[in-house]
Amino acid sequence: MAIEAQSVGGEISETKPTVVGGRAYARRGRYMRFVVPALIVILAVIVFPWFFTIWMSVHDWQITQTQTFTGLDNYLSLLSDQRFLESIVHTLYFTVLAVILPVIFGVFSAVIFHQRFPWRGVLRAVFIMPMMATPVAVALVWTMMFHPQLGVLNYLLTSIGLPEQLWVYDQATVIPSLVMVEVWHWTPLVMLIVLGGLAALPTEPYESALIDGASQWQMFWHITLPLVMPFIMVAIIIRTIDALKAFDTIFVITQGGPGTASETINIYLYLQAFSFYNIGHASAVVVVFFVLIVILSLLLLYVRQRTLWAVSR
C-alpha cells in the first residue's frame, strides 16, 4: 500500500507500465508531430523570453537608448543594492509564513471534508471560492477591511476587547497582514491536494488499528499523516513556488509600502522594469529570482523523494 500511495503522489507519466514492442516504439516518435504547433507557441512566448532575458541582463539597456554589452555588471550591482537585498528578506519572510499556515489549515480542512456529512458538496464549493475569485477584486475588499479607522477588522477586534491594529499601514505588521490574505486565498488549494491524497488511502491499517484499540488522534498521527505526506509535500512545493511569485495582492494592497517594508522581489522587479525602465538591471533580477525559485523547488523535490523513500520502507 505504501507503493500505491507513492505512485498516486507521482506527477509525470512513466508510472503506468505498458509493454512497448519495437513497432510501437517506432510509432512513439511519430506522435511528436502532434506537439509541433504547441512547441512553436512555447518557443515564441516562453522559451524566447527566457533567452532574451539572459541576453538583456548582460547589457546596459534603458528602453530609449542603444544597448551596450556590460558583462556581469548588472549582477554585481545587485550585490550592493541594499533595496534588492532587503526585498529578498521580505520575500523569504512572506514565503515561510504563506507556506506553513495554508498547509496547516489546509490539512485540517481536508480531514474535515474527508468525512461524510450533509451539505458537504455545497460547503466544499463555498470553501474553494476564494481560490477561484479574481485576486484583484478580493484584494480591494481586503484593503477596505484593513482601513485603520473605518475598516471592519478593527471593529471586530475592538468589539471583542482587543486593541486596534494598523494592519498594512505599519511596517511591523504589513507582511503578516498580507500573509493573512494569502492564507485566505490559497488554503483551499492545499485542501484539494490533500483531500485527493486522503481519498486514495487504503482502509486495512485503520481496521487493524481499531482492533488494537487506537484512538482517533493516534490513528491520524501514526497512519493518516505518514500516508498522505507525499501529497502534503506536493502542496508545500506548489505553495512555495506561488508564494515566491506572489504579486497581485501585494501590488494592489500596499505596492510594496509602507516605505519598502513589503517590497518583495517581484514588486521590486516590477518597479525597476516598468516604472524606472532599467531593463538590463531588471533582467538580472529575473535571472537571480528564477535561479532562487529553481533551487528552492529542487530542494523541496529532493526532500519529497526522501519522504517517499521513508514511507515506502
Binding site: 502532434f34 471593529y155 483551499p188 488549494l189
Partner: protein, 287 residues
C-alpha cells in the same frame, strides 16, 4: 470510539459524547467555511450600500435600503462595458488557441512519452509571470502591436497553454489505448486515430482544461497592467484603476470588484466537481 469505552461507559454518557463530538465537528466546519463566505458577503454589502452607510462606524452590515447607484456610477465613470468585452475576447481567444494547439500536444506528449517536454511545461509554470513581460513588452513594441488586444491575448497563452497541456497529458495517459490501436489496425492514420477516437473520448478532460484556463486568464492582472492601454484594459486592470482615480469611495469600488469576480464565482459553484478534479490532479495555476 474504542471497544474498551463501549464496555465501561453507560449509554447516556456515550450519547453525550457523540453529541459533543458532533458539535465539535460542526463547529470546525463553521470555522473553516465562514471566512470564505464572509469576505464575499462583505463585498456584496459594500456594493449595495449608500456612501453614508459605507463610511459609518461602527459598520453597517446589512444595507438599510439596497441601491444600484454604485453600479451605475461604475459604468458612468469609465467604459466598463468595453472593458468587460475586452476581458471576454481575451479570455475566450487565449483559451481557444490554447485548446487548439494544447490538446494535440497533450496527446502527443502522452503517446510519445516525451517527459522532457512535460518538464519544460513544469518549469514554465514555476517562472514568475513578470519575467516573460519584459522581453515580450519589447517584442510587441518592435512589432507595433501595442494598442491592440493581441499582446494581451498572446501573453495569456503563457497561462492557458501550460494548464491545457498539463491536464491533457494526465488525461490521455489514463485513457485506454485499445480503441485507437484497433482503429490503427483497421487502416486509420495517426491523425484519424486522434480525431475520431481519442478526441471524443477525452471530452471531460477538455471541459476541465477549458474551465480552468478560462478562469485563470480572466483573473490575470499582471499582464494587463503592463500591456493594456486606455482602450484595451481587461476587467481586473479596470477595477484597479477605479482604486487609483477615485478618492476613498468604497461603494463603486466594491461594485466594480463584484462585477469582475461574480462570473467566476457562479462558474465555480456550477462546475465545482470539474474544478476539483482538475486542480487535484496537479495544482495548476497560472501567473
Amino acid at each position: 470510539m474504542s471497544a474498551k469505552q463501549a464496555v465501561y461507559t453507560p449509554p447516556i454518557g456515550l450519547r453525550l459524547k457523540a453529541l459533543a463530538g458532533k458539535i465539535a465537528f460542526w463547529f470546525s466546519v463553521f470555522v473553516i467555511v465562514s471566512p470564505a463566505i464572509l469576505i464575499f458577503l462583505w463585498m456584496l454589502s459594500l456594493a449595495f450600500k449608500t456612501e453614508v452607510e459605507n463610511m459609518a462606524f461602527p459598520p453597517v452590515f446589512i444595507p438599510s435600503a439596497p441601491t444600484f447607484a454604485n453600479f451605475i456610477k461604475v459604468f458612468e465613470a469609465s467604459p466598463f462595458a468595453l472593458y468587460t468585452l475586452n476581458s471576454v475576447i481575451v479570455s475566450v481567444s487565449s483559451t481557444a488557441i490554447a485548446l487548439l494547439v494544447g490538446v494535440p500536444a497533450g496527446y502527443g506528449i502522452a503517446k510519445a512519452r516525451a517527459s522532457g517536454l512535460a518538464v519544460l511545461i513544469l518549469i514554465s509554470r514555476m517562472t514568475p509571470g513578470l519575467s516573460y513581460l519584459i522581453p515580450l513588452f519589447i517584442l510587441f513594441r518592435f512589432l507595433g502591436l501595442t494598442g491592440t488586444l493581441w499582446p494581451i491575448i498572446i501573453t495569456h497563452l503563457v497561462i492557458t497553454l501550460p494548464i491545457v497541456v498539463w491536464i491533457m497529458i494526465g488525461y490521455y495517459e489514463d485513457l485506454h489505448p485499445e480503441l485507437e490501436e484497433a482503429a490503427l489496425c483497421d487502416g486509420a492514420n495517426l491523425w484519424q486515430g486522434f480525431w475520431y477516437v481519442a478526441l471524443p473520448l477525452s471530452r471531460p478532460g477538455i471541459v476541465v482544461a477549458s474551465i480552468l484556463a478560462f478562469i485563470f486568464s480572466w483573473n490575470n492582472f499582471i499582464f494587463g497592467v503592463v500591456l493594456a492601454g486606455r482602450e484595451t484594459r481587461t476587467l481586473p486592470v479596470a477595477v484597479y484603476n477605479v482604486l487609483t482615480f477615485e478618492q476613498v469611495s468604497w461603494g463603486p469600488l466594491a461594485a466594480a470588484a463584484l462585477i469582475v469576480t461574480l462570473p467566476v464565482l457562479i462558474l465555480t459553484v456550477f462546475v465545482q466537481r470539474e474544478i476539483v478534479s482538475g486542480l487535484a490532479a496537479g495544482g495548476v495555476k497560472g501567473g
